[in-house]
Structure formats: structure tokens, C-alpha cells
Amino acid sequence: MTTLTNVSIPEEGVRLTQPHVQAYIGSQSLGNGTLIISERAVTWTLTSAQSGDHSAQGFELSYPSIVLHATSTDRSNFPEEHIYIVVDGNKSERRRRRVPLLLTNEEEAARRALQVESEEMNEDEDDDDSEAGRSIEVRFVPDDKSSLSQIYHEVCVGQELNPEEDDDMSDDEGLECDEVSNGHDLQVNGSDGHWYTAENMDGVELSEEGMANLQRMMGGRRDDSDDEQIEQ
């Protein structure tokens, strides 16, 4: 993601194509290119490196990897007005491993610089449980400053079109908990008394759904300290 790779140029759901946009990752300029905002991703392609009709050198930001975006007007930190984006490097990291790297020497140097930068920004990375760390700053600097508000707006639209799965905060399914299986292997076994919460709840009959909800409430990842909490 943060490296220049061969990206496919979006053809469907394109909401904005803005030419003459400089891209920066951290403080490293990647050159002049074209910014394409589609319903699926934000894609930037290097102008000088068109490699075909359907793909080009560039990078792609999926909406879930975009933590926030903003219009920056602070010229003391950066000489021009631009669209400022914070990318979750953890999410983009997974993408990067899947993508074959096709780099020129120059790009390879830029990529190394980026890695150093993201490592520097990531000093507080602690354990794999942590969701913190690895934030990457991306800037899009269009020649035409009047396009800034539209770029900002179209990325907003793209974000709204791409929520996390099972992440709708509208309450259309009543109390159903639809996100129980978010990564934790739950061992629900109430019938043989292994599941400690049942002991506290004589006479209370739980639906499967309710059981799953309770399991989540009482801790998806049970460990000793959790048990201690409950049993006291």
C-alpha cells in the first residue's frame, strides 16, 4: 500500500478523477500523478509510469485502512494546502504482503525511507493485542486547490459506503448480537456446568443468541483474571 506497486486503475464506481496531484507518504514525495476516488478505494497513480490501460504504478488505500482524512491549511507545517490522511499501517501491512513489489531503484529508496518513518512512528508498539501503532501519514497535494473540498467530500462518501462488516449502528435487528464471532474462538458449553456463568443464573433460560451475548459480555477471551473477576 505504502509502496508503489502495479495497481489496477478503477473503472467502476469512479467518483472523481483528479490529475496533477502530488502524493507524499510521510515527508517523502512520490511525484506527480492522478488521484482516483472510487467507491471501493482511493487510488493514486504516477503520471510518468503508465504501464497499460488498466494498471499503472501507484498505490491504493482501502477505505477501512483510512483512519481519518482532513483538509490541511497549515502552511507552517507544509507549504501547500492539501488533503491529509492517516492510514492504519496494520491494515495496510496485510495488503502489502499480498502485493508483488515492482520497484525501480528510486522507488525502492523511497520505500526504505517510508519503512523507517513508519517504524519511527511506531515506537510504542507493544504486543500483538495492541491496536495502536503504525500510523502512516499520506498527503495529496493537487495543483488545483479548488479541488480540495471535492476530494475531501468524495473520500467522505467512500468511507460511508464502506463500513466495517457487521458494523451498522442502526438497530434493525433488535437485540440480536451479530458480531459475536469477531475473531475469538468461543467455547460455549453450558450443559455440563463448565461455563461458569450458568451457575449464577439458575432458572434463567438463555437462547443461543442470548448465550452468545453473555459470553461476549463476560469476556470473549477468557483468561484467569477474567475468571477471577466473575467468581468473586
Binding site: 458480531e179 453450558g190 463476560m218 470473549g220
Partner: protein
Amino acid sequence: MATEKKEAPVLNATVEEPLDLLRLSLEERVYVKMRSDRELRGRLHAFDQHLNMVLSNVEEVVTTREVDEESYEEVYRQTKRTVPMLFVRGDAVILVSPPIRAS
């Protein structure tokens, strides 16, 4: 599931599923265990099925763990702060319970 149906006293006639239990904690102080070694104690004012919550008079404790490179001993450091009114996004919540343990 509580397959044995017996005449034991029922906690509350309307308790059919876990979120009903949490409903009993509305306006009460609760303990919330969060991802990234964070714990919250505060008064629960609202929640939904995602375990999004609003808590007031919140105390947050963040525990960071460091390993001494020579002795390999783990050192735990706790940082506390208070927040008057806090929305908590449910996807980082691990556990909600009445604040049984005094600390």
C-alpha cells in the same frame, strides 16, 4: 443453556438474555475490561447490542507491561485518569460486570 428447568428463584422475570442483565446495571457503577489492557470503572447510563456505552465519572486504568532485559522480570505500570463523561465503542470491550472488586 440452562437445560435443567427447576423451581429455583429467577433473578428477574424479564431476564431472558445477557443484555437484560446489563439493563439491571443501568445507573449503577460497572467495571469494563477493554482491549489494549485498559479498564474502566464508571456509572452506566446507556448501552446497545454492540456494547457501545456511555459512562460517567469514569476512572480509566491503563496497564503497560515491560520486561526487564536482564532479569526477565515483568514490570507492570499503571496509569490512571478520570473522565467526567465518556462514550465507549463496543468493539473494544471485552467484559462488563458489576464492580465487585474494590480497587
